[in-house]
Amino acid sequence: MNQVPDMNGRFGKFGGRYVPETLMNALLELEEAYQHYSKDPDFIAEVRYLLNKYSGRPTSLYHAQRLSEHLGGAQIYLKREDLNHTGAHKINNTIGQGVLAKRMGKTKIIAETGAGQHGVASATVAALLGMECKVFMGEEDTKRQELNVFRMQLLGAEVVPVTSGTRTLKDACNETLRYWVSHVDDTYYILGSVTGPHPYPMMVRDFQRIIGDEAREQILKDAGRLPDYVVAAVGGGSNAIGIFYPFIGDDGVKLLGVEAAGRGVDTEEHAATMTKGRHGVFQGSLSYVLQDEHGQVQPAHSISAGLDYPGIGPEHSYLKDTGRADYVPITDAEALEGLQLLSRTEGIIPALESAHAIAQVMKLAPTLSRDQIILVSLSGRGDKDVQAIMGYLGGEGNHGH
């Protein structure tokens, strides 16, 4: 496969820079700064130092033996991004972009967040680097993720509830872009996924590929060979591209993205962008988008605020259309089963996002033989979701299973 993106930020036909002219200069400036610093040994060393000493990398690769035995098929390995500082893979990217922002001479950071993980990671990095931070969050999500709102405030960030549109992640992204347009002089926008206009999808991928780089090396060492499948949840798709990317050249490794089917892909309430979306331009790039026939972007639904997004990164769209990766939907109910199973077999409560990946593994593993390997990105821990999960499961946890 060719190196993507090209000079115009294109992954095949996907990607690009569909933004108001007022943002173009900021994006060109960012691209130039990133090109420069991503080759600068001091910059690389600082990012690496913080990832290792501050966040706790490398995260471990864990052979989930009890889960594997329970499912009675392939051997399941979990890449434990949940063990990162702040509890998810999001910190890999915010450390990278935060240090970049500082090098660019910016004093303020803005970010958007859905579930709050990217917001917490951005607020954390802002505190660490001594920068001001504003986090835009859909009003609906501030209610679903009260605890994370409080966390961000404890870290010194201002949380701005967004009341436009669907009051979720999509509108938080719009609002952050709008705010950035007016404050580009001193403000850096830490975008949280592999979405948005070029260079963000490329840059965030580069900061997240450490997941796959480590995992590839670890699995070769632990299992002596490459996995048969790499499985990861996709909303915008940053953890998935992070773990997929270093395996793209390994033809024998199947890449499987798991998207949120909410109440089912036959209902109106889902976030299954790849299954039900069409090519379109949304928030700065051409990609798969959940939209109606007139091009109006449709609201998404998922039990997980982190997957509740009608778009997806352009590189995933490229991987889908070239056939290099497959994308499958998992419902809210299936994700909750995945969450409970991992909790009970391994003592790991995953984030609701990662629970979607586990639910897919529940379907996949039994169809494979015991000498096959599934590598799963366990992108985050479930602490943030415990309150929401309690609401969904009620007292049910005491019965059955």
Binding site: S164, V181, F282, H294, G295, V297
Partner: protein, 272 residues
């Protein structure tokens, strides 16, 4: 000759600046939009931007965003509906040039070929697509030129050395963004605005128009000295928002239109 070019030529001969209002079509409903367009012409508008309501209007502030939400919730107004309103306004005798303002995705979903079939010969003289910068517009620009519809580009105070490249390809006029940020009424414009406008002026012989945040006669006059046209969006859309209750009832509709007429007459300096 494209109607926008003809209008600027006439205005130049008369020594006037173009007043270019923006309205969101379908706010509060499609029939009322036809009435509003007629009212704007009567009040002294020289061209009109017809806004296609969109779910994710990245370049717009809260006022126009709310107008989009009203249009989408009242009748799920589509690109086709907006062009149909333009046709109906023509049938009702409206003469001034129409400029279609739309985000790119509705056009893309329509299909570029079908889109140009839709707009050609329907009285649409220009297109403004705020999320289609120079780097992404080649295909659409070529198709627009082939049917003599002007793709009107935006330039911003941050465009720097892009100004010359953008202006070189501009048709109709160059839309100069008066301030950073999204559309919306504001008291302060970008600090380097005068220098910026001079730069654009020096880069092209195509007319230039200023927009974003202009809301009163004083500002129209201020920018009228430096530009060939002045665009007023949010201030008019907000006026429409205020009169929505009047516009929606048959017995008070004329009263509502009268308030819009009075506001735009004041902007155009044609207070009667």
């Amino acid at each position: 000759m494209n109607a926008i070019d003809a209008a600027f030529q006439r205005l130049r001969e008369e020594g006037r600046t173009a007043l270019i209002p923006f309205v969101t079509i379908g706010d509060p409903d499609l029939d009322t939009s036809v009435d509003i367009i007629r009212t704007l012409e009567e009040a002294g508008a020289d061209m009109i931007e017809l806004g296609v309501p969109y779910s994710d209007p990245l370049a717009d502030g809260p006022v126009i965003q709310r107008a989009s939400e009203r249009a989408l919730s009242n009748g799920r107004v589509t690109l086709g509906d907006v062009v149909h309103v333009a046709e109906k306004a023509r049938q009702a005798g409206v003469k001034l040039p129409f400029i279609l303002f739309t985000y790119f995705n509705p056009v893309l979903q329509y299909g570029l070929d079908r889109f140009f079939e839709l707009v050609t010969a329907k009285g649409i003289s220009g297109l403004i697509i705020p999320d289609l910068p120079l780097e992404e517009d080649a295909e659409l620009r070529a198709m627009a030129e082939a049917v003599d519809i002007h793709l009107i580009p935006l330039v911003a105070p941050t465009s720097n050395d892009r100004v010359a490249r953008i202006a070189a390809k501009a048709r109709g006029f160059v839309y100069c963004v008066s301030s950073l940020g999204v559309t919306g009424v504001r008291a302060d414009f970008h600090a380097g605005i005068d220098e910026f406008l001079a730069t654009v002026r020096g880069a092209t012989s195509t007319p230039i128009a200023v927009g974003f945040g202009i809301s009163n006669r004083e500002q129209v006059e201020r920018f009228g000295k430096q530009a060939d046209g002045v665009i007023v969006g949010s201030a008019i859309v907000r006026k429409i928002e205020e009169t929505v209750p009047l516009l929606q009832a048959a017995e008070t509709k004329q009263q509502g239109l009268g308030q819009i007429r009075a506001f735009v007459s004041e902007l155009s300096g044609r207070t009667s």
